[in-house]
């Protein structure tokens, strides 16, 4: 399997296994929280919630039981950075979980690994065994009295929506992966009703560096509002697809040069649930404040049919919607039908505009992030590529 294409200065900077855990022997949980807050680390799954705030709430909660869950249900089309992290750098992820456990007061960490990655499971289990052997997990970790923490790995079974944190918790509890009503949030009422931190693999992998090197160091990279670096999963029409670590704030055009993309027409930033960015906007930067992404970068060159791309995305959502709430369950079906109408040339512009309006309702009225973001591609592709889709060669002609 291919290795990481570009190792940047943050996540892939030098780190020896257990280093972050050893650091805990000399610093308090308050100090960990301080560094984390100072680093301004935000969730790497895409939503960008400040990690320190999440940890803080759970750390302050008084409960007999708390949990740290590593969300390794990486299912967003075009994302594969977690696979690389788990295969090549498990020490970062697991050390991050131990640090989280120490800080929030959890004795138990759970990795929710997507079913598609079952082939990674054994190597992870082996690595955990090694950690237990070296007393990096278990009771009185590294001899520190009362520092108990262990990690178990649970598998998903092929459901994209379980990447949504409350659906993930439902799945862990043995239910259908249907998102919960919020509030309450997992930090208050999470797994088994207990305060729970759910963090993305990459978020956790950033933590050991911050603990060892400091928040100040982390902030040196990236932009003011998007600190540190980001792993980008690059696929599609380019010479060198793969995982790239780049500082936040990198321009899309810079990234395209780096990965050897030519004749690029469009970049889908953030996967199927993200936005499709046309050539005219390639000077936009990859950052929470501009083109935000959980890491998925899909590149389409001039030869690609954007309607076909959109159809593929909508088919994905129709299948992967959990089906519980009306806007998402039926809305995605309607958007897909709309794409098919355009494909056949049997549509009215009035109806397509109504579907865009419907998409805007889905963005605000769906129960969870899936339905709230699934219309993004529909809206952005039809908006940004209307020339090609409605007038161009092979394009459809409405009535």
């Amino acid at each position: 399997m291919e290795k990481t294409k570009r190792k940047g200065a943050v996540i892939f900077s030098k780190y020896s296994r257990g280093e972050g855990i050893k650091r805990l022997l000399s610093i308090s949980r308050e100090e960990v929280l301080f560094e984390l807050r100072d680093s301004k680390l935000k969730g790497r799954g895409g939503a960008g919630f400040p990690t320190a705030t999440k940890w803080n709430i759970v750390a302050a909660a008084i409960s007999s039981q708390k949990y740290i869950i590593c969300n390794a249900d990486e299912g967003e089309p075009g994302t594969f950075k977690d696979r690389v992290l788990l295969l090549e750098y498990p020490e970062l992820v697991f050390d991050g979980m131990v640090i989280a456990g120490y800080t929030i007061g959890a004795k138990h960490g759970i990795v929710y690994l997507r079913g598609e990655y079952e082939y990674i499971l054994q190597s992870l289990e082996d690595y955990l065994a090694k950690m237990r052997n070296d007393n990096l997990l278990g009771k009185n970790i590294l001899g520190k009295e009362g520092f108990d923490f262990d990690i178990s790995i649970r598998l998903g079974s092929g459901a994209y929506v379980c990447g949504e944190e409350t659906a993930l918790i439902e799945s862990l509890e043995g239910n259908r992966g249907e998102a919960r009503n919020r509030p309450p949030y997992p930090v208050n009422t999470g797994y088994m009703g207990k305060p729970t931190v759910v963090n993305n693999v990459e978020t956790l992998a950033s933590v050991p560096h911050i603990i060892v090197k400091g928040g100040e160091w982390f902030k040196k990279y990236g932009t003011d509002r998007s600190t540190g670096s980001k792993l980008f999963s690059v696929s599609g029409d380019c010479g060198r697809p793969g995982v790239y670590e780049l500082p936040w704030g990198t321009k899309i055009s810079e990234l395209l040069d780096l990965v050897g993309a030519r004749n690029t027409k469009a970049v889908q930033v953030g996967g199927a649930s993200g936005t499709c960015i046309p050539k005219s906007q390639f000077d936009r930067t990859l950052a929470y404040e501009d083109a935000a992404t959980g890491g998925s970068i899909m590149i389409f060159n001039e030869s690609r049919n954007m309607l076909h791309v959109l159809k593929n995305f909508m088919e994905f959502f129709v299948e992967e919607s959990c089906g519980q709430c009306t806007p998402c369950r039926i809305g995605n079906t309607k958007l897909l039908e709309g794409v098919e109408m355009i494909e056949k040339g049997e549509f009215t512009f009035n109806y397509i505009n109504q579907l865009k309006e419907l998409g805007r309702t889905m963005q605000v009225a769906s129960k969870c992030g899936l339905g709230q973001s699934s219309p993004n591609s529909f809206i952005s592709i039809l908006e940004n590529f209307k020339e090609e889709i409605f007038n161009g060669n092979g394009g459809a002609h409405g009535k």
């Binding site: 259908r176 009703g193 129709v318 519980q324 995605n332 419907l358």
Partner: protein
């Protein structure tokens, strides 16, 4: 949720689903909010929906139901909360912080219209050809929000086959809006566990285990799902066409018996508020429709009390005096939903079920034997209909063992809703009907039979008789006005002890052939319990299994439906906690207005033992006609 002992963190960090404070005047007990720019204060933890309701602002709902836990799936109740990017489902959002809410902003109105549009696009069929026309929550919403065309198209073919396999419940999933009320009813409220969401994405639908037809799964036919379905996706299996055909057939003698609960609720179908008893108006209406005779099910309810009470006495006598092994506590058997629940989930306890049939089935057996003889009618030409608040009664009358008269004892079970429709079809406005009495030879019955309709009623009726049989005293001397208050009300499980004391009365004539005297009951304490809703029944059964307090009871009344029969699956929609309360009030008020309030005082009951069931209660003939047996069904499906 945390256990309470854990909640010592600062308020900002406690779980946001909060128990409402008992004392809202305490600091933090109330939260100030703004709804549509009007400032109000609501108790901490109130949902946005409740807060709006309290302040006279109506918010549309579909998946929400007062009886059920929150789902938050239909999204029709979304509102705008200042500072939040997305709309919030008001039914699911507990207020813990000051907030500004807009319930009718352009974004909210657009979302609601879209949601209705989407639901309509997948909702098969047309309103005019639907039995819920005019009573459909989706239709009402479309009307309210001005959705008068199919913006996003409309399905042309049904996606699912209609499941008509069950005698009781018909499922048409092509009309389902996936509100999951039925799922929450079946799993959470009733703990029967037949319906759940199956598949996902656009294939999501409500299904049964292995997609089996309803008749083949462990459905108890309670019909509570029907009562909560907002559309026509669930309905009772309606026999009214067959009944019309019988009425129109001059060779058929069509008899209807009416149970107390439909009489207390049918007015709701004619625009009256809940709690108007229509007993005598209904008698007239049924005659005008063309029923040849109208009998009062309360008569056989009285008979049930005698038979079931006698059975209890015999069981106790065998256990205490003859030291035989008998199954105790005795369970009531008048609720066919409960009976099937027990047969599936606790088959090892079927011997505890009273062998006495339900009043419906007792009447069925008597109509085609005793009545047929008296009236000189060939029972083959009798069509026996039962007006019941219940969908499970349809299943019950189709149980193969219910042929003790030599014919199918009861031909059709008809629900309150179906009856109301037949009356309307006949052009009759029920509330305007003059009053008339029930037909002889069964005539009027007692208030004891009447209160069978409410949870605790069977037990109260039984106690009114047992107390007089054993103690030789008037019930009124022990319980004021013969109202046994501890057995009333909607608490899930009720428990009562009745000490017999040292003084017993003489054995009444009716029972003399069975027990010599009551001395063996001296000093005993009669322990009884009442449960309604199968979830509560389950609690008692699990306690009995574990050898707990209820295993020491002598007699337990179980009703499958919340509230008892008055909340039955055949009753008018909606049925809510408030409506159940009013129906119960109507039933108890009618009972108190009657002269005759104890089953054993019913002269027709006395007469039938003198003239027909001459071997007395639990005698040979009554065993043949009035008692039955049960099946160990278990929970496995082949």
């Amino acid at each position: 949720m945390e256990s309470k002992g854990d909640l010592r963190a600062p308020v900002s960090q406690t779980p946001l689903i909060v128990e409402k404070p008992k004392d809202t005047s305490a600091i933090g007990g109330m939260v100030s909010i703004e709804i549509n720019e009007k400032k109000v204060a609501v108790p901490l933890g109130t949902t946005i929906l409740e807060a709006c309701k309290m302040n006279g602002i109506s918010i549309p709902t579909l998946c929400h139901h007062d009886d059920l836990c929150v789902a938050g799936v239909c999204r029709i109740c979304v509102v705008e909360v200042e500072g939040m990017r997305t709309l919030q489902a008001s039914c699911a959002y507990p207020i813990t912080n000051p907030m500004k809410i807009k319930t009718s902003s352009p974004m909210v109105r657009r979302a609601r219209r879209h949601i209705i549009d989407l639901l309509l696009s997948e909702h098969y069929g047309e309103c005019y050809s639907c039995f819920r026309n005019g009573k459909c929550e989706l239709q009402n919403l479309a009307k309210e929000y001005g959705v008068d065309s199919y913006t996003f198209g409309h399905v042309e073919k049904p996606k699912y086959e209609v499941d008509k396999s069950s005698y009781s419940v018909v499922r048409d999933m092509s009309k389902c809006v996936l509100c999951k009320r039925c799922v929450r009813t079946c799993i959470d409220l009733q703990e029967v566990g037949v319906l759940e969401a199956v598949d996902r994405g656009d294939n999501t639908h409500i299904g049964t285990f292995l997609e089996k037809p309803l008749a083949d799964v462990i459905c108890i036919n309670c019909g509570q799902c029907i009562n909560r379905c907002p559309t026509a996706a669930l309905r009772a299996n309606d026999p009214s066409d067959e009944i019309w055909a019988a009425i129109d057939d001059p060779t058929k003698h069509v008899i209807i018996q009416t149970a107390p609960s439909p009489r207390a609720a049918i007015g709701e179908e004619f625009g009256l508020g809940a709690g108007h008893s229509m007993t005598r108006e209904l008698n007239t209406a049924l005659k005008r429709i063309g029923f040849d005779k109208v009998f009062d099910t309360n008569f056989t309810a009285d008979l049930t009390i005698i038979e079931e009470g006698t059975e209890l006495i015999l069981r106790l006598y065998k256990a205490l005096v003859k030291k035989e092994s008998v199954a105790l506590p005795q369970f009531t058997s008048c609720s066919p939903g409960w009976v099937k629940f027990l047969e599936h989930y606790y088959p090892e306890y079927i011997d505890n079920l009273s062998s006495a049939k339900s009043p419906q089935q007792m009447f069925g057996a008597l109509i085609k034997t005793f009545y047929a003889q008296r009236a000189g009618i060939d029972p083959a030409n009798i069509v026996s209909v039962a007006l019941m608040p219940c969908s499970a009664k349809k299943f019950e009358c189709n149980r193969p063992e219910m042929h003790d008269s030599g014919y199918k004892d009861v031909d059709y079970g008809l629900t309150t809703r179906e009856m109301a429709r037949m009356i309307k079809e006949a052009g009759i406005n029920l509330p305007e009907m003059p009053k008339s009495n029930f037909d002889n030879p069964f005539g009027e019955a007692s208030g004891a039979g009447l209160i069978f309709g409410a949870t605790g009623g069977v037990m109260e009726a039984a106690i009114r008789s047992v107390v007089e049989f054993v103690l030789g005293k008037k019930t009124e001397d022990i319980f004021e006005k013969a109202n046994i208050i501890p057995l009333r009300g909607f608490e899930g499980i009720k428990y009562m002890e009745i000490p017999i004391g040292d003084k017993v009365g003489p054995v009444p004539e009716l029972l003399k052939h069975l027990v010599p005297n009551w001395d063996w009951l001296k000093g005993a304490v009669l322990k009884i319990a009442v449960a309604h809703g199968t979830a509560n029944a389950k609690k008692i059964m699990d306690d009995i299994k574990a050898g707990g307090k209820f295993s020491e009871c002598h007699f337990i009344e179980f009703m499958a439906c919340p509230g008892g029969c008055l909340g039955g699956g055949g009753q008018p929609i909606p049925t809510t906690p408030e409506i159940r309360k009013k129906r119960a009030e109507a039933i108890y008020a009618e009972d108190e207005s009657l002269e005759l309030r104890k089953s054993h005082d019913n002269p027709h009951v006395v007469q039938i033992y003198q003239e027909f069931l001459t071997e007395g209660p639990c005698g040979h003939l009554s065993h043949e006609l009035l008692h039955t047996h049960y099946l160990k069904r278990g929970r496995y499906i082949a």
